[in-house]
Amino acid sequence: MTLLADQLLVLSLLINFVVLGTSRIAFAVRAVAVQGILLGVLPALVHPFSWHLVGIVCGILLAKGIIIPWMIMGAIKKAEIKRELEPFIGYTSTLVLGAVFTSLAFMFAAKLPLAPEHSGLIFVPASIATLLCGFLVLMSRRKAISQVIGYLVMENGIFIFGLLLANAMPVMVEAGALLDLLVGVFVMGIVINNINREFSSLDTSRLNTLREE
């Protein structure tokens, strides 16, 4: 089963690159949705069966795979934007940086003092790599919606790490993580709305006019 889990993780790592490399926002959202579904299935593979686990898996699939992507798609339609045209860092460079970060994550994870039963898995490097890719998206994109996507990718990275921490994750931890995600998306939703209204565009680089002199 761990072999299948590793394969799924590799797939989600590849999805990171899809998100980094595409200029079409709707496509990136779909990619993140797929990543969410993959990660939602993961707990079922690594932990023994229980009804609690079923609840967790269903909840994650619903939140990460359907509800949040659907909300973002709605926001995209409302704001009428399809592409991220002028990223701060070009697509090729982000891809290269993503690759560098991913390899750095593998190097770093190899040096971490992990529990022996975890040291063979790629959970830790995959988690760190996904986190860093999320950061990269957050940083390199201009549109607020792309930044929400970056935030989601980051959250996925944290989620992968969380899979390791407890054998059966307590509901509270899981609920907390999901709540966190929801709040993040809400905040970004408000930011998007306000930037749109204030500047008639979703360009976050315009925010610097708000700074205090």
């Binding site: 860093l132 950061f135 957050l138 976050t204 680089s205 610097n208 700074r211």
Partner: protein
């Protein structure tokens, strides 16, 4: 000392008072009506009565009691307790908050201020409850939590009228300075809890040879000095007191400032022995605060700002008492310790009483005439006779004149200084010898200042048409003032009543002064003071009676003052407050830096013109603001990091993360 967990009646009374104070925040949250406001005020008054009983009982009970709260906080358990020292500071808290809450019903009625009354009442209750908790907290964390709640409670209640820009500015200045003070307190409590326990040490349990003793002294002086309004850390005080609603000013000046004094006394009580320079520093700072505070007060045109500067002056007198006590401790003179600390603590109570009385009186006057400018008022005494007589009582008390209470506490400080001159040696003699004329100067200038205020505001005739209206304050505003004036009179006429209370509180500061009621009575001639005050009061009463009897049958006629033959006198030709104080302001010109605008008058028929004078907050505008400006310019390169570009902020985080990863991998 009783064991933790055992609740003694005194402690139970005080805890009940805290709960009632906290409950007074609730009624207006449910229903915004005049009835809710009255219920809320009644809860506060009830809390004050219960609390005062508990505090007086604790003052006569030399033992300290404490209670461990079943409440797990980080850094150890929370503990509240009561000892005579805390109880003495609880007295003004309960008396002033109760009176102010009652006054608020008439001063800020729910019908007239429907939008702000809920907020004001809520934060008044919160402020009262947190003040009580500050004094009763026995460990650093609970103390800091209550301290912060107190700061926020007073911030929100002082900015009640936040549609005015000056109120918002005053609030922000207060918020910044109080938090700077709190930052220093964090340092203080980390130093104190260096051995790992956040509980307060017992009285006289630390040695001044403690390597951190001097650091503890300096942090306590700065951290609590900001709250107490000690010069030169007083910059927030004048604008905050002037901008708050009057009954909040009364609490801030009467009680919140005293929390700074409480903090200092409490921290100094931890030390068994102190070096001489501690007392000397406090004495000198007290002299500066006293003299400079009253000099600034002389130059003010705003009634509440003037009272605020008098708070600084009185904090100066309190600090002088504390300084004398610490010098006594350093030189081993029990009499100086007793006189200085008893004077300091009694003046804490006295200043709370008469300054609250004056602020409430000022509130009634401002309510009636609709301005805070002294030079626009006049003749208020005819329209508000009761307020005028109560204000007069407060003025006499604050000037330290017999027969009221200010005289009693000031004479204790004088006697402490004389002891220092007569029986000490070395530099202590010089300092205490210098303190006596400084205290006398403060008293004299205060008399001049209150002659100016009372004469301009209450006597004469109204100076302007639009501020000539108004009527006597309603009963629920007069009763609290009457209560405060009554306390002033009782302490002034029968000072021996407070001697046992003071002796108890002084023993809480230093255990070697336990059972010193007899010593205090022998050092201070309470009987003579009482005799003098009583006979003076009798003379005044008899004199008034005689005058009233003689003039009651006469016919009254009103005529303008003879103006040396000038044909068209106007009320504006009366002596103004500015002109009255002009000579004294001139003496202190180097300090006060008055800004005058007086155009030159030319020709035989000059055109209409204006004269204006203004005294700014010199320390703030001449010292702190230029310094901050300098700091602002010098830190310009760092401010480039704060550019408002979200992506680069995220880049900072990413770079930090990657650097950390690389460092970990390489190590």
């Amino acid at each position: 000392m009783t064991g933790p967990g055992e609740v003694v009646p005194n402690l139970a009374l005080l805890i009940a008072a805290i709960i009632l104070q906290a409950c007074s925040t609730l009624p207006l949250l449910f229903r915004r009506s005049a009835l809710s406001q009255k219920i809320s005020a009644s809860l506060m008054v009830l809390a004050s009565m219960i609390g005062t009983t508990g505090a007086v009982r604790s003052l006569t009970d030399p033992a300290a009691h404490s209670l461990l709260l079943d409440w797990s906080l980080p850094f150890g358990p929370a503990e509240i307790g009561i000892d005579p020292l805390s109880a003495l500071f609880l007295l003004p808290i309960f008396i002033i908050t109760g009176c102010s809450a009652l006054y608020g019903v008439g001063y800020w009625p729910a019908q007239k201020h429907p939008h702000t009354v809920t907020r004001l009442t809520f934060f008044l209750g919160l402020l009262a409850a947190s003040l009580t908790t500050v004094v009763m907290a026995r460990n650093a964390i609970l103390f800091l939590i209550a301290w912060e709640m107190m700061a926020l409670g007073s911030f929100f209640s002082l900015t009640t009228d936040d549609k005015h820009e000056e109120v918002r500015d005053a609030g922000i200045l207060y918020l910044i300075t109080t938090h700077l003070g709190t930052l220093v307190l964090f340092a203080l409590f980390s130093l104190l809890s260096i051995n790992g326990s956040f509980l307060f040490p017992a009285a006289a349990s630390l040695s001044a040879l403690h390597p951190l003793a001097n650091a503890i002294f300096i942090t306590a002086l700065i951290g609590f000095g900001v709250k107490a309004g000690m010069m030169p850390l007083h910059v927030w005080l004048p604008s905050a007191h002037a901008s708050a609603p009057s009954h909040i000013s009364a609490i801030m000046s009467g009680v919140v400032l005293k929390m700074g004094i409480y903090g200092m006394v409490r921290v100094f009580s931890f030390f068994a022995q102190v070096p001489l320079w501690w007392g000397a520093t406090i004495l000198v700072l007290g002299m500066i605060s006293g003299v400079v505070g009253v000099a600034f007060a002389l130059g003010q045109h705003d009634l509440k700002r003037l009272l605020a500067y008098h708070s600084i002056e009185n904090i100066g007198i309190i600090l002088m008492g504390m300084g004398v006590a610490l010098i006594g401790q350093a030189t081993g003179s029990q009499a100086m310790m007793l006189l200085g600390m008893a004077g300091c603590l009694l003046h804490v109570l006295n200043h709370a009483l008469f300054k609250a009385l004056l602020f409430l009186g000022a509130g009634s006057v401002i309510h009636a005439v609709g301005t805070r400018e002294i030079d626009l008022m006049g003749g208020v005494g005819r329209r508000l006779p009761l307020t005028a007589s109560l204000f007069l009582a407060g003025s006499v008390a604050i000037c330290g004149l017999p027969p009221l209470n200010g005289f009693v506490s000031e004479i204790m400080v004088y006697l402490g200084c004389f002891r220092g001159v007569a029986f000490s040696n070395g530099s202590a003699v010089g300092l205490t010898a210098l303190a006596v004329p400084a205290l006398a100067l403060v008293g004299g200038l205060a008399v001049a200042c209150f002659v100016k205020v009372y004469g301009t505001v209450f006597l004469g005739i109204p100076r302007t048409e639009e501020h000539s209206g108004g009527h006597e304050a309603p009963g629920n505003m007069l009763v609290p003032m009457g209560v405060l004036a009554g306390f002033c009179a009782v302490i002034g006429l029968a000072p021996w009543l407070v001697a046992p209370l003071l002796a108890g509180a002084v023993a809480g500061w230093h255990p070697s002064l336990a059972n010193s009621t007899a010593a205090l009575t022998s050092l201070v001639p309470f009987n003579w003071i009482s005799l003098l005050s009583t006979s003076l009061t009798l003379c005044i009463l008899v004199g008034t009676w005689v005058i009233v009897r003689r003039t009651s049958g006469n016919e009254h006629s009103t005529a303008p003052t003879w103006g040396c033959g000038y044909l068209r006198p106007t009320p504006r030709m009366q002596y103004t407050a500015t002109s009255f104080a002009e000579m004294l302001v001139k003496y202190f010109r180097d300090l006060l830096r008055p800004q005058e605008y007086s155009p030159e008058i030319t020709g035989i028929f000059p055109a209409p013109t204006r004269y204006s004078s203004h005294i700014t907050e010199v320390v703030l505008e001449g010292l702190y603001l230029p310094f901050l400006e300098y700091l602002y310019r010098k830190t310009a390169p760092f401010r480039r990091l704060q550019h408002g570009r979200l992506h680069l902020y995220i880049l900072y985080i990413l770079v930090t993360l990657v650097v950390l990863l690389v460092v970990t991998v390489n190590s």
